[in-house]
Symmetry: D3
Subunit: 135 residues, 6 copies
C-alpha cells in the first residue's frame, strides 16, 4: 500500500461574501477579502492503493489527469467562484470550503476508497488539507 | 554600479475585455481569458546604482518596500483590475499592459534613473520584463 | 474536520554549542555547525478544526498571523538563537530542538486542541515535524 | 518523538518496459513512457525518533547523508534504471516501484524502526509516498 | 518594446558521448556524464516586441504554446537525445549544445526578430542562456 | 557565444555594523539588521564563452564547482561574515557589498573575460547582480 500524488492548477476570481449580509457587514466580517480578487490555485490530489504488478501503477496517470481536468479544471479555471459556479451560493469561497467542494467532486469520480487527501494551495504560504474521511 | 531586486506579491481578478467589442467578439478574440478569473501576481523590481559607502546600500530597502506597498500593492491587491482600477478602461489587462502600468507608476515614485527593470509574473511559467527605457 | 497551514519566515544566527564542553570538544562533536552561522528558517504551522459555517474558516487568518508574529517572528527573527533568546542555554539549537521550542510556544497561544503540526525548515533540503502530541 | 527529513537528488534514464511483452504491446500499455527518457528525481527521507539530549539530534545528519549517498545516489544517479541496475528486470520502473525499492534499501541501512517515510518526486507535479510499514 | 517569457518542460535521456572516441576515452573525458542518465529539462523562451494595442499582446500565447509544443516538446520529450534525435550525431548533448539546437529551431519557427533569448535548465542549479544573436 | 550559470549555497551569520559608530548609532542607521542574524545565501555565477567543439562545454563544470567551493563556500559557509572573514572590517555586509567581494574573488580565480555576472540572493525576495564590468 502506498500513496501517489498529482498536482493541477487553476486560476479563479472570487470574493468572500455572504449574500444574507449587507455590503458593510461583509466588509466588516471579511476585510479586504470581501473585495473581488483572484488566485492561482494549486491542487494536489493523493490516491492510496497497491500498484498493479503488471503495470507498476496504482492508477494510470492519464486517467487521473482526465478526471482532474473534467472535475476540477473545467469547473473552476478561468471562472469566478461566486458567479460562475453553483457551489458558493450559500457558503463563502474560503480555501477550507473550496477544498471540501473539490474533495466531494473527486470522491464521486474516483474508484471507492482510493482518494486519500486533497490539498489546496491558495498561495505558497497558505493551504488546506481535506481527507477522504473526516479526521 | 550594480543592480538590486526586491519582490512583492498581489492577488487580483480580471478579464481580457475590450468594451468597444460585443461579448461574442471578446470571447472570440480572447478565448477563456475573456471570462472573469484571477492570479497571484509576483512583481520583481530591479534598481541600479552605486552603494553608499556609509551604508553599503543602493537604497534603503525599507523605503523601497514602502514605495512598492503604496504604488503597487495598495492599488492592485485584492482588487479587480478592470472594475476597481482606472488603468484598463481602454486597454486589456494582459501582463504586458499591467507591467507597463506598474513601470510608469514606479518611475514617478523612484529617484530619477534608478529603476532598471520591472518583471511581472502572471504565474511561474509566464512573465513580462519592462525596462525603464524601451529596449 | 480539516487542516489549514500557514507559513512564516525568520532569519537567525546560531551555533551548535554545549556550554558544558570545551571549544575543542564542541568542535569535535558538531563539526562546522559549532561555528557561528545562520539560516533563513521557514515555519509551517498546521491547525485542525471544523470551519465555522458563517465564515467558512477554521480560524481567522489575521489572528493566526498575529500569533505567529508575536510568538515566533518577534522572538527569533534577526536574533542570535544562543545569545539573544533564553531557550538554548542548556540545549543545542538544532532544528529538532528549535521546532519543539516553537511547538511549546504555539500550544500555549492557540485555542486548545487546535495545533496539529509544526514544521520547521532549516533549508529546502532539511526540516523537522513536531506534532501537538508526541507521535 | 518527532520527524526529520532530508532530501537528495539523482538523475536517471529509464523506460516503462515489460520484457515479457512485444515492443508493440509495451507501446500500447505504456504510451510515450515506453520510450527511453529521463528524470531529475528528488528523494525525501523521513526519520522518526527522540532527539538525544546531548546533541539535540535524532541522528547525526552527516551519517544520514552518507547512507543516502551510498544506498541511493551511488546506485541510481547517472544510471539507466532498466539496464544499469538489477531492480527492474521483472518490474517496470514507475515511481511507485522505484520508491519501494529505495524504501527496502533504506530499511536495511538505517537503525530499526527509524525510517518513517520515503517520498520520491518524479517531477514537481508527481510523487509517491511509501511508509516503513504498509499503510 | 518589452519582453515576454513562457516556460515549457520535457524529460529526456542522454549521455555525453563522442562516437569518434573509445568507451574508455569517453569515460575519461566526461566522467559520470558518459553513463546513460536523464533530466527534467525546463525551457524558458523570451520574445521581444511591442504589444498590439487591440489585444495588449506581443504574440498570442496560444500560438507560442503550439510552437513550443511542435518544435521542442514533440522532438525531445520522452526521447533519448543521442539515439532518437538527429542533433547529436556529431556533438555531445551538453546543455550548451542542446540550447543552441533549440535556439536554431525556434528562430525558424518564430516571426523574424522576435526571439530574444533561450534559457535551458538542466536542473535548478545549472542552466544556459543563448541569445538570438551571438553576444 | 553563450552564457552558463551554476548555483551554490552557503549559510552565514552577520550584522550590519559600522565599527566607527556607537551601538545606538548603528541601531538607528540599520534597525533590526544591526542585530546578529543569518541567511541561507544562494549564489548564481554566470560565465560567458564559446563551447569547445570537442566537449560541448564553455568550461568543465567540475572545475567551476571546485572554484566556487574554494573561493566562496570555504570562505563564507558556516562563518560569521563580520568576525570570521577579513572583508567587512571597513564596510557593512549588505548583499550589495558581499556580492562585490565575491565578484572580486571570482574574477581572480576564473580565466580572464569569462565571468559575466554574479547574482547573490539573501532570500527569495531580495538579490543583487554584479557584472564583471561596472554597468
Amino acid at each position: 500500500m502506498l500513496r501517489i500524488t498529482r498536482a493541477a492548477e487553476f486560476c479563479s476570481s472570487l470574493r468572500y461574501w455572504d449574500p444574507a449580509l449587507s455590503a458593510a457587514a461583509n466588509q466588516r466580517r471579511f476585510g479586504r477579502c470581501a473585495s473581488q480578487h483572484g488566485h492561482n490555485y494549486r491542487l494536489e490530489v493523493t490516491l492510496r492503493g497497491v500498484p498493479d504488478p503488471a503495470t507498476g501503477m496504482v492508477m494510470d496517470l492519464k486517467d487521473l489527469k482526465e478526471i482532474l481536468e473534467r472535475e476540477v479544471v473545467a469547473r473552476f479555471d478561468h471562472r469566478d467562484l461566486n458567479g460562475d459556479t453553483p457551489y458558493f451560493a450559500k457558503q463563502v469561497p474560503t480555501p477550507e470550503n473550496l477544498a471540501q467542494v473539490i474533495r466531494d467532486l473527486l470522491i464521486q469520480a474516483l474508484p471507492a476508497g482510493m482518494l486519500d487527501r486533497v490539498r489546496l494551495y491558495q498561495d505558497e504560504d497558505l493551504w488546506v488539507d481535506v481527507l477522504e474521511e473526516a479526521l
